[in-house]
Symmetry: C2
Subunit: 153 residues, 2 copies
């Protein structure tokens, strides 16, 4: 009888390298914005609110690919930090409208600058054409699998 073939090498998987690089980028970024008192999930939350002006928690949950329970907890934390405020929805007594406080609005460009710097520092080892190619490949995969959620972790 033939012996069991050895399992494939971890390093053969594109998913392995993707995760290794992605985790390193995210962890570096998380460490940097920690100095601003926010987590990556909170940054995505603030960034989404910045674009939308005001947003119902349920819509935000959908955009961030999180449950409404998770959004509720995030909103609690960001309210305590005075970066986000809740207002009742005048058209629906059950609903809310989330928006940035002035402090929250002021913080977003600061965090965006950190994100820019982090991205540049990490990918400057690639030539511009290589960076473009990497982006195109990743977007092609995202499109093929209909990935739309803003990644949080």
């Amino acid at each position: 009888m033939s012996p069991t073939p050895p399992p494939s090498d971890l390093h053969d998987h594109l998913g392995y390298w993707l995760r290794m690089v992605s985790n390193a980028v995210s962890q570096d970024f998380a460490r940097e914005i920690e100095g601003q008192g926010v987590t990556v999930a909170e940054w995505v939350f603030l960034r989404a609110l910045h674009d939308a002006d005001c947003l119902a928690p349920s819509l935000l949950a959908e955009r961030m690919g999180m449950t409404k329970g998770a959004i509720s907890k995030l909103a609690d934390r960001l309210s305590e930090k005075k970066l986000v405020q809740r207002a009742p929805n005048p058209e629906d007594g059950r609903g809310q409208m989330l928006s940035l406080t002035p402090a929250g609005r002021a913080l977003v460009p600061e965090l965006a600058r950190i994100a820019d710097g982090n991205d540049a520092a990490f990918f400057d080892t690639l030539a511009p054409a290589e960076r473009d190619h990497l982006g195109a490949l990743l977007r092609k995969i995202a499109r093929a699998h209909e990935l739309t959620r803003a990644p949080v972790d």
Copy 2:
């Protein structure tokens, strides 16, 4: 006075696309191996032991980029599942030697097959040359930043 420029778009960051695709790959994989009763961290743990035959927890912690406390908890869970066994290190009364049980050894190729299938399903939207290029770009970044830890989350 000039108005504050709008913060850069999230989608401009390579790190954003990297995280989106990487999270999707990992979450799909996590869901699949859940059926085998293990998490991604446990899979990496089992895979490392499979290569090494037997390994001290401290070495495993270093390879996986986890603390010894985290390794200890993982080893607890995998022992309960009868996939890993602890043995005293005869040369050092403080140390241990971790190894796979027969059940653990039998499970690794099964998980490796799932990993293969997951990787293939996710990246088959790319042409072979594109897959090679993506891998080369990711390894180039990993090399430049001296990333060596097997990513776990």
